[in-house]
């Protein structure tokens, strides 16, 4: 059984102010239910606790075999206030893909 999320899914990060979006897609349709079951908002919030300070909402898009995570207070105040090197959070898709699956 694959252990890292990266083995089952690909991901793209986007930003709007201090909000981070993480779009997660199953490589294979048959793995989508497993993502829905395991990659819950709570697990994502816990996994990214060093980065995401606010709420994590999840939208299911079964037609696309996708989950959309919308993470508030995730970019250290947004591009303006952030002192982070990657102020837009462009690299954070790969932080999510580090998640270990059961």
């Amino acid at each position: 059984m694959p252990r890292k999320l990266a083995e089952l899914a690909h991901c793209r990060a986007g930003d709007k102010g201090d909000t981070l979006t993480l779009s997660l897609f199953a490589y294979r349709a048959e793995d989508y239910p497993r993502l829905v079951a395991q990659v819950t908002p709570d697990r994502v919030r816990a996994h990214l606790s060093g980065i995401v300070k606010g709420e994590v909402r999840r939208y299911e898009l079964p037609e696309l075999h996708a989950l959309q995570f919308v993470c508030e207070q995730a970019l250290a105040g947004g591009v303006t206030a952030s002192l982070a090197l990657d102020a837009h959070g462009k690299t954070l898709s790969y932080a999510l893909l580090e998640l270990e699956l059961d």
Binding site: A6, R12, D15, I51, L61, A66, T80, L85
Partner: protein
């Protein structure tokens, strides 16, 4: 699934951000068989920066790459009937229009340029209004320097109706730049929400140019993309109902697949069930994508609801200064020497400026994700990075200066100093009643252009 009617419109994306590459746009313009080429070059911060630039030096409020892009692309406007739509006007669309006319004249081309204004709403925005992001009054963030409403496709229609073959705007919602030609050519009503929704999806997929053809996507072994070096930019063939297929010019690098399209479809969407643009409230839940040919993906199924009565405005304010410094440590014990340097810096800077907002990163260890997620990590080299924010330039400069001083006053073997200081512009948003924002069109036409020989 998407069906392509005989009458379709082909719209290409020739730039997806301010500094985007120019060569792929030239390939699209010369070989793409396009009806329209859209260049999206304006991020939230870009327009505030342009506003500041214009205050300091009049005549510089438009995109710094305007001339380079227009010189490369204008010849195709006359040669093949291509129409260009772009937000390179930034803080001065009329000024950008005049420069475009001057270039056309120099190249001996006839063009009709329309500048769309009305997005500058600094006079309408009161410092006491509330910022959406923070709930605080705008004035509490800093001195306001710009306010630009996101205009919709409607603002561009008069320019297209009057036959402009180059339309230059300031702040317009990115997908609206693509939706406007569709509304104009197909005569869609401005309350035909489902068609507007489908057209908005086309705009959303194209607005970041190379991000739908394999850029910001490639990952060797997992998501391979052929010939990324020659990444082609996308175009869409759109039918009169807004069903579309996304593709690119044969022979260019990159790939258009279900995967590249899906990643871009959800990019930066904070609510897939109700994504608000100036034109429509978009629901992406019904969207379906399917590969219908090599590097060709059909898209359909979006639905729309009525647009809102408000327009979002981006408000720029002066947010102080960012000072940065970097130094590399390599070889045995590199991580420990970098950590020692970090401690020394923190002490020195906090003694000099007690309330300085400071961040210290160890690049190569944990700078990007504040964690290395369980990988045991003893890197061969570590780059120390220090960043701080200050209200005064002189204080921000102190940060890079102290990093530089580590060369002779810090741990062994630090090298490769870089330091910088930059003024920061903050952005917050507020909502304005739609009816208060009035778009205008200024036509600059052939009398400026040289007569054909």
């Amino acid at each position: 699934m998407a069906r392509i009617e005989p009458k379709t419109l082909r719209i290409g994306a020739g730039a997806g951000f301010q500094g985007d590459r120019i060569d792929p746009a030239v390939v699209l313009a010369s070989q793409g068989g396009l009806d329209y080429l859209v260049l999206e070059c304006l991020a939230e911060r870009t327009i505030a920066a342009a506003q500041l630039r214009r205050l300091q030096e009049p005549g510089t409020g438009f995109d710094p790459l305007l001339e380079a892009r227009m010189e490369a692309l204008l010849p195709f406007v006359e040669r093949s009937g291509l129409r260009i739509v772009t937000n390179m006007g930034a803080a001065d669309p009329v000024g950008a229009g005049k420069v475009t006319i001057a270039i056309a004249r120099r190249l001996n081309l006839r063009v009709k340029v329309a500048a769309v204004t009305g997005d500058d709403v600094l006079r309408l925005v009161k410092p006491g209004m509330t910022a959406l992001e923070t709930g605080r009054a705008l004035r509490a963030h800093g001195r306001l320097v710009s306010a630009n409403a996101y205009l919709g496709a409607e603002a561009l229609l008069p320019a297209l109706a009057r036959g402009a073959n180059v339309v230059i705007t300031g702040r317009v919602a990115d997908p609206s730049l693509f939706l406007a030609p569709l509304v104009h050519e197909f005569g869609w009503a401005l309350d035909d929400w489902d068609r507007l929704a489908r057209g908005t999806v086309v705009g959303h997929l194209l607005e970041c140019a190379g991000q739908v053809t394999g850029g910001y996507f490639a990952d060797p072994g997992a998501k391979d993309v052929p010939d990324l070096a020659h990444l082609g930019f996308p175009f869409a063939d759109v039918d009169a109902d807004g069903f579309a297929s996304i593709s690119k010019v044969p022979g260019t690098g990159g790939a258009v697949t279900v995967r590249t399209v899906k990643e871009q479809l959800l990019y930066e969407v904070t609510d897939p069930t109700g994504y608000v643009t100036p034109d429509v409230t978009l629901d992406l839940r019904g969207v379906r994508v399917a590969e219908v040919g090599p590097d060709r993906v059909a898209v359909g199924g979006a639905t729309g609801r009525a647009r809102t009565d408000t327009l979002k405005a981006s408000v720029g304010y002066l947010a102080g200064w960012l000072g940065e410094g970097e130094l590399t440590y390599a070889g045995a014990n590199a991580r420990a020497r970098a950590a020692l340097a970090a401690g020394v810096l923190r002490e020195r800077l906090q003694e000099a400026v007690p309330d300085l907002e400071l961040r210290i990163d160890h690049i190569g260890v944990d700078s990007a994700h504040k964690s290395s997620f369980g990988h045991a990590h003893d890197p061969y080299e570590v780059r120390l990075r220090v960043a701080g924010r200050a209200d005064r330039r002189a204080v921000a400069e102190r940060i890079g200066w102290e990093v530089e001083a580590l060369l002779t006053n810090g741990p062994a073997g630090g090298g490769g100093l870089r330091k910088s200081v930059a003024e920061r512009i903050g952005i917050v948003s507020t909502l304005l009643p739609r009816a208060k924002v009035a778009a205008e069109v200024t036509l600059l036409q052939s009398r400026y252009a040289a007569k054909a020989r």
